[in-house]
Symmetry: C2
Subunit: 248 residues, 2 copies
């Protein structure tokens, strides 16, 4: 079974979807069989790569996950689409709260044919995120170079630690990546210094610069690697991919 990275952060708009999608694209371009799983009811990861949201959420459709997985325009990258159905999301939450391992087993069984799986989570510490953490082998946390981004980190770390204690040895913290990094802003330098002081080694060397090409790419249903291959954003996600692979 390959590596299953859960891309989480309760804070909204920090670059979870952007990081999950572009890192998945870079891994696929590196020849690895990669699956992007969209657990966010907003379905940004799904539509950002040109796929369609599922009418019924694959986790509660009753079919094996493999039947819901679709290809993308990138060879080697497939996607498990999300669903906008609020009713399905509530069914998943109720299942997760019931403590049964149905969801986790269903997720685990569906993910074992890939070298890498990246799970995009909604901005919350709720049941969808906890289910995703329980089914993952690693946590990847994007942190935006903004003041509010530092606020909720302790809560987030506590939830991750809870999941690690419930399933010893299954989940490890693979890294923090700084996003929307802007060299010209003092605020960026302050946040970066604080995050590196606090978290040390687990913060990736690579930072993702603020680059409009990154935010334009999804409107063309492309990753930034295909939309603007020579952009700073594309180069940064390629470098992040090499760093993530270094710890295979």
């Amino acid at each position: 079974v390959g590596r299953i990275l859960c891309v989480v952060n309760q804070k909204g708009g920090v670059g979870k979807t952007t990081t999950a999608s572009n890192l998945a694209a870079a891994l696929a371009k590196g020849g690895l069989r990669t699956l992007l799983v969209d657990l966010d009811p907003q379905c940004n990861a799904t539509t950002g790569l040109g796929a369609k949201p599922a009418a019924v959420h694959p986790l509660v459709s009753g079919f094996p996950l493999a039947e819901s997985i679709v290809a993308t325009t990138i060879p080697g990258l497939s996607i498990l689409p999300g669903s906008r159905s609020v009713r399905d999301v509530e069914r998943i939450a109720a299942l997760a709260r019931s403590g049964s391992a149905v969801l986790e087993t269903h997720l685990a069984r569906g993910l074992n044919a890939w070298d890498y799986c990246l799970i995009d989570c909604p901005p919350s510490l709720g049941d969808l995120t906890r289910t995703a953490l329980a089914g993952s082998s690693e946590v990847l946390m994007p942190i935006q170079c903004e003041y509010f981004a530092l606020e909720g980190l302790t809560q987030m770390i506590e939830v991750i630690r809870d999941v690690m204690e419930e399933r010893p040895g299954r989940l490890r913290f693979s890294g923090i990546v700084l996003t929307m990094h802007d060299d010209s802003l003092e605020l960026t330098a302050e946040v970066e210094a604080e995050v590196r002081d606090f978290f040390g080694e687990i913060v990736f060397e690579t930072v993702i610069p603020r680059d409009v090409a990154v935010s334009e790419a999804p409107s063309h249903a492309r990753s930034v690697l295909d939309y603007a291959p020579r952009s700073r954003g594309a180069r940064a996600y390629t470098e992040l991919c090499m760093e993530v692979r270094d710890c295979e």
Copy 2:
């Protein structure tokens, strides 16, 4: 009873907290008795104005809301702090799901001594947001000038329409405000054109420009109006306040 504005958007990081806090500050500076209610477990609105998150969430503490309300450094602006307690948030969600009007009555009773109340919501369509909508008289929706910001709008509108149908005549859509507007980006112009075409009159004339002073202000526990009064961000929130008051 005054106006109760619910500041919502399921999409994360679009400027909900920034708009709720700075608009509340501008209303208070205009001589109106204003209350900022922090319903987001991240408590960004609370700490961004220098207050402390409550150990027990005021909505489930068993005390009248008035006992949890604290003053801020801005005369005329008070805040009902949020709480980071995940257990309390779950109790609120369970109460909201039970359909009982306990929360709504508790919220309504606590908010009737103010000219304006602004409720900051988490990035979700879950129970906290629905409870807030049910207790409000108006909806104010910040939309970021980004591609993903257009994605989940239909779902958000559906939830708001549900709440309006359950309580006819109580809730109206007061407006959409475009945030992080950057004149130099084509993407900004495209998103603005699409939002104004689709929503027409309810989109405020005033747009909030991307301005680093806005994102620095909370780290000094100040609104941008006090932190950088001559900044473009401060002027924009003052103009937005005048537009909001125009429809009194």
